[in-house]
């Protein structure tokens, strides 16, 4: 169990790429708390697996240092870092039994056999694998194999952190739910520092205390699920988290007012703009109201998704999504009203602060 310090970490996959400034992982500078459950969330190719492999030592970063509990481990090989990692596709030792698979990491570290047995049985029980302990891993299904990989990741009691690289990709949806909540439970009971890579926002939001959203090799926001939802600090976070994502429209700002297509929208405060580049206004579909006398919009279609309705509309030529309760009527001459407190102003994609 450890606090993980990422000290100005960056990585390029080749010296040529580094010379071009073509980093797979741009500078990451953060401290992750001991015992935290972190999810790395982002689209494919955003650098989340790279970051994970840097933590486990499978990749040595081109720049920066990494420390566990304040001890620099940048130059330590994977074996010496005392890390557990579960991969996207099941890795099992075919010729061994399920039991031996779990015992393998412990035996390699010369743990006394009595302790190995105790620990392996504990984990077998926890992951529901007891019934197949004596079976060879070869004939098992992908689901079962991945469960073994997971169990092998959990078997060592003294690891600094457990890293999961999209571990539930090959698992079917029903079992996915179960395993995810088991992991969550396990995190609560064990206090391991866990880092979980995924591109599935539901998975990230249910598993983690803190979600780390990555985009094009950068961490764009670290926050609780609520923070990510209510105050996305980058338009990408707004777009990536939530379904449908945040509405983002180019805007001009004059004091406490934003102007889009000649329409004035009241803000909760005065954005602290340095006069820089592209200014956008972002608002979640959940915070847009439909009422008479609001901003003029034209409604394209209404999607009924069960408990909610999604209204797809256009406002000043920009697409605008609105989420309504199922039983809410849509007036014929409806206009939109943005809740001032839920509006964020973005300069060059980054959220700017507001003065009251």
């Amino acid at each position: 169990m450890a606090r993980i310090t990422l000290d100005h970490i960056r990585h390029a996959y080749s010296p040529e790429a580094e010379a071009r400034g073509d980093y797979a992982l741009k500078e990451v500078h953060h401290e992750w708390e001991d015992g935290g459950a972190y999810a790395l969330l982002g689209p494919s190719g955003c650098g989340k697996t790279t970051l994970l492999n840097i933590i486990s030592g499978l990749i040595r970063p081109s720049g920066g240092r990494i420390a566990f509990n304040g001890v620099d481990v940048t130059d330590l090989p994977t074996e010496a870092r005392n890390i557990a990692q579960v991969f996207q596709f099941p890795v099992v030792y075919d010729t061994m039994t399920v039991y031996d698979n779990l015992a393998f990491p412990l035996r390699n570290r010369h743990v006394p056999e009595a302790q190995v047995d105790k620990r392996v049985r504990e984990i077998l029980a926890m992951t529901d694998l007891e019934s197949m302990a004596k079976q060879r891993a070869r004939g098992l299904t992908a689901d079962q194999k991945q469960k073994i990989s997971l169990a092998r990741g959990l078997v060592r009691a003294d690891v600094n952190a457990i890293l999961f690289d999209e571990p539930l990709t090959v698992i079917d949806p029903h079992l996915k739910w179960m395993l995810r909540s088991q992991l969550k439970q396990l995190h609560r009971s064990s206090g391991f520092t866990m880092v979980y890579v995924t591109h599935d926002q539901t998975e990230a939001l249910t598993f983690a205390d803190k979600v780390v959203v990555m985009y094009e090799g950068e961490i764009v926001q670290i926050g609780t699920p609520t923070e990510l939802f209510e105050r996305p600090s980058h338009t990408f976070v707004g777009y990536f988290i939530g379904s449908p994502g945040m509405n983002v429209m180019p805007a001009a700002v004059q004091g406490r007012t934003a102007v889009i297509g000649g329409q004035e929208i009241a803000l909760a405060g005065t954005p602290k703009l340095g006069g820089e580049g592209r200014i956008e206004l972002g608002i979640r579909p959940e915070f847009v109201r439909l009422e008479r006398g609001g901003l003029p919009i034209s409604i394209d279609k209404v999607e009924d998704i069960g408990r909610q309705k999604i209204v797809r509309a256009r406002f000043a030529g920009h697409p605008l999504s609105i989420v309504l309760d199922e039983d809410q009527d849509i007036p014929a001459d409806a206009g939109a009203r943005f809740e001032p407190g839920a509006i964020g102003i973005y300069a060059n994609s980054w959220r700017v602060g507001m003065e009251a």
């Binding site: 994977t78 074996e79 890390i83 030792y93 061994m96 390699n108 070869r138």
Partner: protein, 288 residues
């Protein structure tokens, strides 16, 4: 509906039957025919029963060449399999050197058997051969024409040179198919180099090794051309393997009956070994 019976469809199989008959059945039956008869020429045959077989199994000459063959196969398997695995493990997995290594490895396999024999025949000669000359100049008493040990050494080294590549290529193909995640997981699990080999690489190579061992056994058990070119079976009879002996008997002495009996026994031995080996390997596979 009434089924119509029409056996004319059997004619469709006729071409294959004819082909197989001419390529396999008839030649084989000819051998069987010779093995139970005696002839003094003029195409006159006399029934001889199992006489040739009993003679063969009682002859020291047959057992000598058979044991030479078994020892030879044993030695080259013991050398080529571990060596092949070792080379495959150390070949680069990616980069420009991959194709260089693969081509170098494939080269010996492309050389015709008798050319391999000729190469080593000259290479080992004490008067003009690079190896033979240098060895003698350095004070080693090496002469494959006169010394049985040197003759064996030459034939074995030649076979290792010629065929280790096959084992390497087979093993290499299965090694590169192991996903990186396995090696990464092994690192995470703190596995030693030996454990990685024992639990990841070897299980993955198991199938191709079965094939490699089978191929190398059958091939080395039937070896003819290379030792024939290099040593001609000598000095004395020291490198006379079954095939060489067979040719001597059939074409040298023109003893068609005994030669035919020997051919059949020879064939049965290879079949038996291959069957036993294959059964054992697949049985342990199924057990897993």
């Amino acid at each position: 509906m009434e089924k119509t019976w029409n056996n004319k469809a059997w004619f469709m199989v006729l071409p294959v039957l004819v082909l197989v008959a001419f390529s396999a059945v008839i030649p084989l039956m000819t051998v069987v025919n010779y093995s139970v008869q005696d002839t003094f020429g003029n195409n006159e045959f006399f029934w001889n029963g199992t006489q040739w077989f009993t003679d063969l199994l009682r002859s020291q000459r047959f057992w000598d060449s058979l044991s030479r063959n078994l020892i030879f196969s044993g030695i080259i398997l013991a050398l080529e399999i571990p060596l092949g695995i070792l080379i495959a493990l150390n070949m680069p997995k990616k980069g420009a050197w991959v194709s260089v290594c693969l081509v170098l490895m494939a080269l010996p396999l492309l050389v015709p058997w008798n050319v391999v024999g000729t190469i080593w025949q000259i290479f080992g000669r004490t008067d003009i051969g690079l190896f033979g000359y240098v060895a003698n100049a350095l004070g080693f008493d090496y002469n494959y024409v006169q010394d049985p040990v040197d003759a064996w050494l030459t034939v074995i080294v030649m076979d290792v040179w010629h065929w280790t590549s096959l084992v390497v290529l087979l093993c290499y193909a299965s090694l590169v198919s192991i996903p990186d995640a396995y090696y990464q997981a092994a690192k995470i699990d703190g596995a030693s180099r030996l454990a990685v080999f024992r639990y990841i690489q070897l299980p993955k190579m198991r199938r191709v090794l079965t094939i490699a061992i089978l191929l190398r056994f059958m091939d080395s058990f039937m070896i003819y051309t290379e030792p024939f070119v290099v040593t001609g079976g000598g000095p004395g009879n020291s490198t006379t393997f079954l095939s060489i002996d067979l040719v001597k008997m059939a074409l040298g002495q023109f003893d068609l009956g005994p030669a035919a009996a020997m051919s059949i026994v020879y064939f049965l031995i290879i079949l038996l070994f291959s069957w036993v080996f294959y059964t054992v390997m697949t049985a342990s596979d199924a057990q897993n």
